[in-house]
Symmetry: C2
Subunit: 389 residues, 2 copies
């Protein structure tokens, strides 16, 4: 057992509910048989509602990155040109995957803290008519930016380009209309807004995406991250277990099943509104307290807020005090963004009024202690006012 | 939650201890920070002791098959010749992986129910001097056969051929001396003899295996199942989390940590002896009861016993009665083995005297009910005698 649990106000994994944790404590569930099949079906059906899709859902054991690579790997034939946006850390992860799968990366550089401009996408697609697919991160948790994926997907559609969309840190917290927005490969993870335990990726594919895969000239490389292979086994073993070729991580399915029940009970509208309100409270509170937000309201994430570290303060010292004195984990700057940031996650269970008031209070106190000029009272009062208290 | 739990007398997933289940019920553990790093280190160190290796261990999120493919994928450059033994279901899975990764399969056909003959391996390696690696399943849970991997690896060594060894259904239940036996890529899963929850693969590599990877001409395909990439991130992010590039399935690590503690507490010698004794009791009991074992004692698995379905009996009817009347799951024949079998797992927690006496009694009763001539009393008395009761 872990000695001490800190509250996970990080951009994932986020906190899970007791119901979710206890679901994993039940005896080991085999990955076949009636009870399993019923649970598998329940999980997939609830995921369809959250994704707002009519297409089949697939769970990829491993991680969200496994789902990212399953999409990339299934699209890329040798030297396939892929437009890869580089607006943050996970954009760069897509780049590594496309490269390593033998694709040709056509990069779209985006300054950190800014969103992708769909007109820029159009310009690149015009200049590179051989591009077959584009990777795009909906909610870049490294910068705290939301990219306009509906608009980007509309541009891609004009050019017949497939859209591989990462919604890892947003699905279940903000509205994503997978089918309406024509996101050909839409993928997420369990451990962010779906407030479950890490270890699985989730993906759904449009008919156009399947059509592309079915018409490939060269077979997909590999077996485990091969969406065609996964689909074939789901069909072939439908009556046996219906989840693909490998032993399913059944405890993680049970956890997700329980989490999805809580999400459905809350209601998607209510949930999205909660994430919206908490984002507003955090952002206005931080500003009232004298801190600088890294991104503009217009493109700000509803699940993670990025704060510029005040001049002269040490990022690691901030995280250390938050952890040691307040038992709260927040995150620092991933990769090399240039600007030093601290990041506060508010996704699923942690998009929570009480948790956010205490987190922002603790953060302000910590920065003050380290020498920054901040107004804790103004921050908290602003938050309470927004909450209507 | 699942409505009804049946005792998992199948060849995996096997039963987990309460300690293991409760470890997953603790609050979500982040995949970085001091507590995480300490747990990660503990798990890897205990795994080294079970694998009897001095080499670094790696946990591959996903499944045992993910670890199989990580090995295959990291070895195969275009048209690499790989000797693939086809003694059972998982041998064939390796074939699919080698094929799909662009390797050239040199098949070694082995009749189902027989073990690989190391002299046959020598013959094929002589005939195909371009073979770079061999895949071998130590414990073929589909047939109930143990392959002589120490002898096979010795032959491979003579020819400079790398050994990719699957110990998924044996590691932790029977002795496997990874380093002494020169198993270059030795891999397992968490959900069999390690009696933990499914969702991760485990692998360690010899210096020779790493040397091969480091000297490849063509980079490894992909990112997620790329052992070089995984090692690079483990080094690069050593101080941060030290487990590779992706979010770790932390609940599954916690479960494994708890399971490995129980294994260490029992002691490896004692554990191997227990698996040996239970295998003897099951096999002699079944024979005394009038049933036919599928494989000879000399090559019989210590974790799964395969029984020939008596003439005229329906395999599915047997499994159904066992489940419905006794609440016990056993397994049928996977794939197309020719002979109809039922399979009883006795691995980790289910290598247990009481569970096996009741399982064998229930199985005999079921077969009798369906019209087979069996002697339940003789079976049980034989088992009790072997147990010294």
């Amino acid at each position: 057992m872990i000695e001490r649990h800190c509250t996970l106000m990080i951009p994932g994994p986020s906190e899970a509910a007791t119901e979710t944790q206890l679901a994993m404590a039940q005896p080991t569930i085999p990955h076949y048989g009636d009870d399993w099949t019923a649970m598998n079906h329940r999980v997939l059906e609830k995921l369809q509602r959250i994704f707002q899709t009519k297409n089949d859902m697939y769970i990829i054991p491993g991680s969200s990155s496994a789902a990212m690579e399953a999409a990339v790997n299934s699209v890329i034939e040798r030297d396939t040109e892929v437009l890869v946006e580089l607006s943050g850390f996970f954009g760069h992860r897509f780049r590594e995957m496309v490269d390593s799968c033998g694709g040709k990366v056509i990069p779209l550089e985006v300054p950190y803290g800014k969103a992708i401009d769909p007109e820029e996408v159009r310009r690149v697609l015009k200049a590179h008519p051989r591009i077959k697919a584009m990777t795009v991160v909906h909610n870049e948790s490294s910068t705290g930016v939301v990219n306009p994926v509906a608009e980007i997907a509309a541009v891609c559609r004009e050019f017949g380009v497939l859209v591989i969309c990462d919604t890892v840190s947003s699905m279940g917290g903000v509205e994503i209309r997978t089918d309406d927005w024509k996101l050909d490969y839409c993928l997420t993870g369990a451990q962010k807004c779906l407030q479950s335990s890490p270890g699985i990726g989730i993906i759904c594919l449009s008919d156009k995406a399947w059509d592309y895969i079915d018409k490939r000239a060269i077979p997909i490389h590999g077996w485990f991250l091969n969406l065609k292979n996964i689909r074939e086994y789901c069909v072939k073993w439908k009556d046996w277990h219906g989840h693909g070729p490998v032993t399913a991580p059944t405890a993680l399915y049970a956890a997700l099943d329980a989490s999805l029940d809580l999400i459905m009970k809350e209601g998607l509208r209510e949930r999205f509104a909660r994430h919206e309100l908490n984002t507003k409270a955090v952002r206005r509170g931080l500003e009232a307290g004298g801190l600088t937000l890294f991104v503009d309201d217009r493109i700000a994430s509803r699940t993670v807020t990025t704060i510029v570290v005040p001049e002269g303060l040490d990022e690691k010292a901030i995280l250390g005090i938050m952890k040691n004195e307040f038992n709260i984990l927040i995150a620092g700057t991933p990769g090399n963004l240039g600007t030093k940031l601290v990041r506060v996650g508010h996704m699923g269970m942690t998009s929570n009024k009480n948790l956010l008031i205490s987190t922002i209070s603790a953060l302000m106190h910590t920065m003050k202690k380290l020498g920054a000029k901040v107004d804790i009272g103004a921050a908290v009062e602003t938050m309470l006012e927004i909450y209507g208290n």
